[in-house]
Amino acid sequence: MSFDGDFRKRKRPPPQQGIKVREMGTTWWGQRWIEALEHFSRDYLSRLGRGRSYARTGRVHDLKISPGLVTAVVTGTEEYDVSLRMDVFTNAEWNMAIKIMAQEARYAALLLAGQMPPDIESVFRRCKRSLFPSKSHDLETDCSCPDWASPCKHVAAMHYVLGEAFDRDPFLLFELRGRTRDQVLAALSRLRSGVDEVVKQPRRQELAPTSVEVSPEAWAQYEVPPVPLPTLRFHFDPPQTAAAILRSLPPPRPWSLEESPADFLADLYAAASERARHMALGVPETNPEADAPATHTKVRRKVSKTRS
């Protein structure tokens, strides 16, 4: 049993805002990050285990990532401030890496699709750098706890939480090294077109306004469509395979089943498609009134009482 100085005090409960890690290192890049820690701290394996359980129970919070620096607070017996420092790449290093990436469209394509190119390390190796920490002194960690071990369990906990954060967003690794995703993509685009475009970033589509001011001119025409109502085409044909729409996507990150999400939900898709088709193309129940043969009933506008 190790002595870490707080066995007499009760630990505080994990705070509400704690980040509960479920699975870390599900992507190869997240895995690489965690391996780096485990590789450098063979001496303190027990602390890694505690760190992992801290990460799972949500004791890490207020995680902030900025170029060269990660900070977080870990709640154990007390609240401890934890930090991690890494080298920021120089502009020259980044420019070179980006130049290399610009030689193959797949880098940008994968980055745009939210994936880290599997040979990204080779890109940085050609710049004589490593995206992931490769030596123990690449990682400079600090914790306000009284434990003398480095890394302590608080640092380890933050490291695991970071691993999961990287799983989700590989660009955080870039950010830690000094460039945001947007900066990398913009630089790639510039190199591709050779044009230094000054782009006023259009506000993201999510921010499109959902409300609009009422204009008196428009509202005076309360029941008048601004342009005539369109005639739309409909066909209601189900896709050849159910849930086809999901098949263009890789499974979501936390997916744990053998079956793909598309197969897992296929029957729901098929049933809803059938219901929609029935509703769209089915014949509503016959209204006995509609049976009347007298010639004039056709024109009569009836209030339909049948529920279709």
Binding site: G58, A102, E104, A105, A113, E164, R168, S189, R192, S193, P202, P209, T210, S211, V212, V214, P216, W219, A220, Q221, E223, V224, P226, V227, L229, T231, L232, R233, F234, F236, P238, I245, S248, P251, P254, S256, L257, L265, L268, Y269, A271, A272, R275, A276, M279, A280, L281, D291, P293, A294, T295, T297, K298, V299, R300, R301, V303, S304, K305, S308
Partner: protein
């Protein structure tokens, strides 16, 4: 309903999405009854937000109700209602096509699994945008708080509302979520994986799911990130892939030629805007060309698309090692793989795909089968007694043989086998690229080995009319070619409506107009070919005389079997009158009244070619007798009486056996598809397929969704069997007089007849004994009473009760007005009696659901002017029917908007009637005016009319004084004039009595005689 006074909103409440219908006429919207009274804040026309009263309809109930409203009906509804019907259809289309995605949302303190619509594909984004652009204010008047600007400036409060885009997206999402959920979701174990619990929350009644044991907040983010490429409304541009054929020299077989898949950026809003990848990388130009907002976003749209494409079609991945990939080259086997498998997946993933059209499944350079149809088949019908050369009954069989075709050339089995031996499916064949799938080749070889077969004529004709792309025999696309005698028949059929070589029988008394000769000739051709025909000319063009000419023609040809003519009770009198007038040589018998035949043998003893009249009511009642006779011809007048195919009337009509069937109708049946099917099933059984299939493939796509392709296909199918000429047709107009006068002879109901007889009996003794002024007074009083009875019993009795089904005249005018309205025409209706006018107005408004103005002596001048102004307005909302009293409205007014004039009762004074008619028939009238004078058969009305017809000069000189001259008659003359002819009543009551019988639950077949509770005592 009016285009105003009702508004529909969607209320974007995630917990209870619903529709809100309000306005003074809200109750007239068809689905109003589905809702509950509710209050909803809403931004009114004045721009202020207020709580309004209305009805709230849960989306679950409202969605199917909205979606089932047809396009024609929607166009009559207020635009805010119409636009939500289109939105509901779009929602169903997205769900049916699986364009929906599952996700998780954080709401307040809990997590919910929800479905969202994906408006990613070009066609969806396009429909979404067009719909959102058309939203009238009333359709999105959901308050979204007041504007800050207004508050700051200290001005009046400026309201904000949801944008159409946001509201429509919310609606589509809510529809997806509503339709995905059922009550049958399986329970899951408490320790189930999050995926299982998520699945349950996605389709069970409860969207909420507990995230015990892990951080839902992160899961939410993960799933949002996962689904992001498919979520929401599509962006500005997408990657597009075009497959280009290799260029090879003519001699080469092309086995090693390379196909090219080129990359483009395609505008999401205008798919015709394409920019090659090279230009995209060069940058700059994209902004000018309006595809993307910036060079960078253009590149990123393309590259993100390439990443997806590479997952779906790995050969693309190789090109991504280039800095600026523009295309890949591939051998034909890979190109085939793309064509057949990858391309559909690309489309599903929201990528653009452009294929060489000739290589798509229905393209010219794919294998297709040509079906060569000929009439060499044998008749399968044992009843076939037609000796007519070239006849083509639909119950015969047609022979066909197959030919395989590729790129416009016919292939033999050997050639097909040679193609099958090639290893690549995309090959050069006689200098052109063709796609040959081994499975397709084998299928073609099999068909060729079978050589051909026979096909029911109704299927073959449908195929020959170009309405068939597929048949049950093969999955390959087919083409139909007609040869031999069959092609002669089809040529004759096509030429028939315009052929003018019909030789009008000498027995026809009178003159047919040129278009009537063509119509009778067409009927004659159809009867020769033994194809059921529907003559659907506009009202007033003389369908009756054309049919009479046909009857005489068939008799001339030697048809000996009798003809059955079925018509509504209200026109039996008219038919007899026309028959006596135009075809006095044609024998006819009545099959109605207590004297009618009680078994089929009676029809065997008739003179050759006799016409047997009956009514729809008796057809229904006596079908066992009528259907046991072999008729030469079965004709239905006013065939819309069998519009409901499951009614007993329609079933009875279908049970008739006849060599030729004909239907007359004045309503535009091509727009009433249920009616069209029912009439066709009578005319040409099975030709339009089973009713359920017809509804699925034609009626619903056309009526509910306004789709043009099935409409055109249906038109190709039915056109050869329908002849419909419009009064407005220039070739018809020249044949038409500018004013046509017609007597419309109506039948009395039994109630009318007994009232008539009673009134007569009561007055008669008093008249006989009276003299001088008293006698004249009594005669005039009796005349008035009898005219009132002919008009309507309720007018005579001074009742306010229901009017339907009690007067033959009223029934007939309703039938005729329906046709007038269906054609979009307008009518004047004159009566002498204000009490009758008021009743007519009430009944017209009830039946047609339109406002009917009534101009009579009690209407002040300003109101009269307003009535005339509104009626004359060229506006679809103007009243289509105008009732006038002869005294107040018979002179002075200009009512040229009407081209039909009805004289509901008679003035017996041509000058007065003509003057009234001239309200419409005058300068400014550009159409032919039809004048309909209604009178009751067998009554004083008909007798006075005959008297005046016989003594025109008498009419001119004497009648000028009104009805006074009648009072001068002696007892005998009066007795003849007033007495009721014994055949005045047609055995049964009419109108809504028939309706009531039809309203009973459907039966498997026509009712056997004797079980009917309404059986007439013999």
């Amino acid at each position: 309903m009016r285009n105003e006074g009702a508004h529909l909103l969607y209320v974007p409440d995630a917990a209870r999405p619903r529709l809100f219908l309000w306005g003074e006429n809200a109750q007239q919207v068809p689905f109003a009854s589905l809702g509950q009274p509710a209050t909803q804040p809403c931004v009114l026309e004045a721009g202020i937000a207020e709580d309004v009263e209305g009805v709230s309809i849960d989306l679950q109930v409202g969605l199917p109700a909205l979606a089932s409203i047809g396009v024609a009906e929607a166009s009559q509804l207020p635009p805010s209602v119409a636009i939500w019907t289109a939105a509901a259809k779009l929602a169903l289309d997205l769900i049916a096509r699986g364009r929906i995605i599952p996700t998780i949302e954080q709401r307040n303190s809990h997590t919910e699994a929800r479905w969202r619509a994906s408006i990613l594909l070009g066609e969806d984004a396009d429909r979404f945008a067009r719909l959102a652009n058309s939203f009238p204010p009333a359709a999105h008047a959901i308050p979204a708080g007041a504007s800050r600007r207004g508050r700051r400036a200290g001005q009046a409060r400026i309201e904000r509302v949801w944008t159409p885009d946001a509201l429509l997206e919310h609606f589509l999402n809510a529809c997806a979520d509503t339709l995905m959920r059922t009550d049958e979701a399986k329970r899951v174990q408490p320790r189930a994986t999050w995926e299982q619990r998520w699945r349950r929350a996605l389709h069970g009644p409860q969207a909420q799911f507990s995230g015990e044991g892990f951080a839902e907040r992160l899961l939410t983010e993960d799933l949002k990130a996962w689904i992001k490429p498919l979520a929401g409304v599509s962006g500005e541009a997408r990657a597009c892939f075009r497959l280009d054929l290799p260029e090879v020299d003519e001699s080469s077989r092309g086995d090693d030629a390379l196909f090219t898949l080129r990359y483009f950026l395609q505008s999401a809003r205008d798919p015709s805007l394409l920019m090659p990848a090279a230009d995209v990388y060069r940058g700059g130009a994209s902004i000018r060309r309006g595809i993307a907002s910036s060079a960078r976003s253009a590149q990123e749209h393309l590259l993100a698309g390439l990443a997806i494409a590479a997952r779906l079609f790995p050969p693309i991945e190789a090109s991504l090692h280039e800095a600026r990939p523009e295309s890949i080259s591939m051998k034909s086997a890979i190109a085939w793989e793309f064509l057949n498998n990858a391309a559909p997946q690309f489309i599903e993933a929201g990528l653009g795909v452009i294929l060489p059209t000739e290589l798509t499944r229905t393209g010219q350079r794919r294998l297709r089968m040509r079906m060569r149809l000929s009439s060499a088949g044998k008749s399968s019908a044992s009843t076939d007694k037609s000796g007519v050369e070239g006849g083509l009954s639909l119950d015969t069989m047609l022979a066909f043989r197959w030919q395989a075709e590729l790129a416009g050339e016919t292939l033999t089995i050997d050639e097909l086998q040679e193609l099958a031996r090639l290893k690549a499916p995309l090959v050069r064949h006689r200098g052109r690229w063709v796609a040959v799938d081994k499975r397709e080749i084998n299928e073609a070889i099999q068909l060729l080995e079978q050589q051909g077969g026979t096909l029911a004529a109704h299927e073959g004709l449908a195929a020959a009319f170009g309405a068939v792309e597929r048949t049950a025999q093969t999955s390959l696309p087919i083409e139909v070619a007609v040869e031999g005698g069959l092609s002669d028949v089809l040529a004759r059929l096509r030429a028939a409506p315009e052929a003018s070589d019909f030789n009008v029988p000498e027995t026809f008394v009178g003159t047919l107009r040129p278009y009537q000769v063509r119509g009778a000739g067409w009927l004659a051709t159809m009867s020769d070919l033994r194809l059921g025909a529907c003559l659907a000319d506009d009202m007033g063009l003389g369908k009756t005389v054309q049919l009479i000419a046909l009857l005489l023609h068939r008799r001339r040809l030697g048809d000996t079997a009798p003809t059955l003519l079925v018509c509504p009770t209200s026109v039996v009198g008219n038919w007899e009158r026309e028959l006596r007038r135009f075809a006095p040589s044609l024998p006819f018998v009545r099959h109605y009244g207590p004297q009618r035949a009680r078994d089929a043998s009676a029809f065997g003893e008739l003179e050759p070619g006799t016409v047997v009249f009956t009514t729809y009511g008796l057809l229904r009642r006596d079908w066992p007798i009528l259907s046991s006779v072999e008729w030469a011809m079965a004709a239905l007048d006013e065939a819309q009486n069998i519009k409901n195919a499951s009614s007993r009337t329609a079933q009875a009509a279908r049970s008739l056996k006849a060599q030729f069937r004909v239907a007359l109708t004045g309503t535009p049946i091509e727009n009433r598809l249920a009616e069209l099917w029912s009439i066709f099933e009578f005319l040409n059984p099975r030709f339009l397929g089973p009713q359920a299939e017809f509804r699925r493939t034609f009626a619903i796509p056309i009526e509910r969704y306004g789709q043009t392709e099935p409409a055109e296909k249906l038109k190709r199918l039915t056109q050869p069997f329908i002849l419909r000429r419009l009064k407005s047709d220039p070739t018809i107009i020249q044949d038409l007089p500018s004013k046509q006068e017609m007597k419309i002879v109506c039948s009395l109901t039994r109630e009318q007849a007994s009232l008539y007889q009673a009134a007569l009996d009561e007055s008669w003794s008093k008249i006989e004994g009276a003299e001088g002024i008293e006698r004249r007074g009594r005669v005039l009083a009796l005349l008035t009473a009898l005219k009132q009875i002919c008009n309507h019993p309720a007018q005579y009795l001074g009742e306010e009760g229901p009017l339907a089904g009690r007067s033959g005249k009223l029934q007939r005018i309703l039938e005729m007005l329906e046709e007038v309205l269906a054609e979009g025409d307008r009518a004047l209706v004159f009566t002498q009696y204000r009490e009758m006018g008021e009743r007519l107005v009430r009944e017209f408004e009830r039946v047609f659901g339109v406002q009917v103005p009534f101009l009579h002596g009690g209407v002040p001048q300003s109101a009269r002017d307003e009535m005339v102004r509104r009626f004359q307005q060229e506006d679809s909302r103007s009243p289509p029917i105008f009732v006038l009293s002869v005294k107040a409205g018979g002179t002075g007014l200009n009512l040229t908007a009407a081209n039909h004039v009805f004289h509901y009762d008679r003035w017996w004074n041509p000058a007065v009637e003509d003057q009234a008619t001239d309200r419409a028939y005058r300068i400014g009238q550009r159409r032919s005016v039809q004048v309909h004078k209604l009178l009751c058969a067998g009554t004083v009305e008909e007798k006075i009319d005959e008297l005046l017809e016989r003594k025109r000069e008498l009419a001119e000189s004497i009648v000028g004084a009104g009805e006074q001259w009648i009072t001068e008659m002696n007892d005998q003359e009066l007795r003849d004039l007033f007495s009721l002819a014994p055949d005045a009543v047609v055995s049964e009551d009419i109108g809504e009595t028939e309706a009531a019988e039809e309203g009973e639950s459907p039966h498997s077949g026509p009712h056997p005689r004797g079980r009917r509770k309404s059986e007439v005592p013999a």
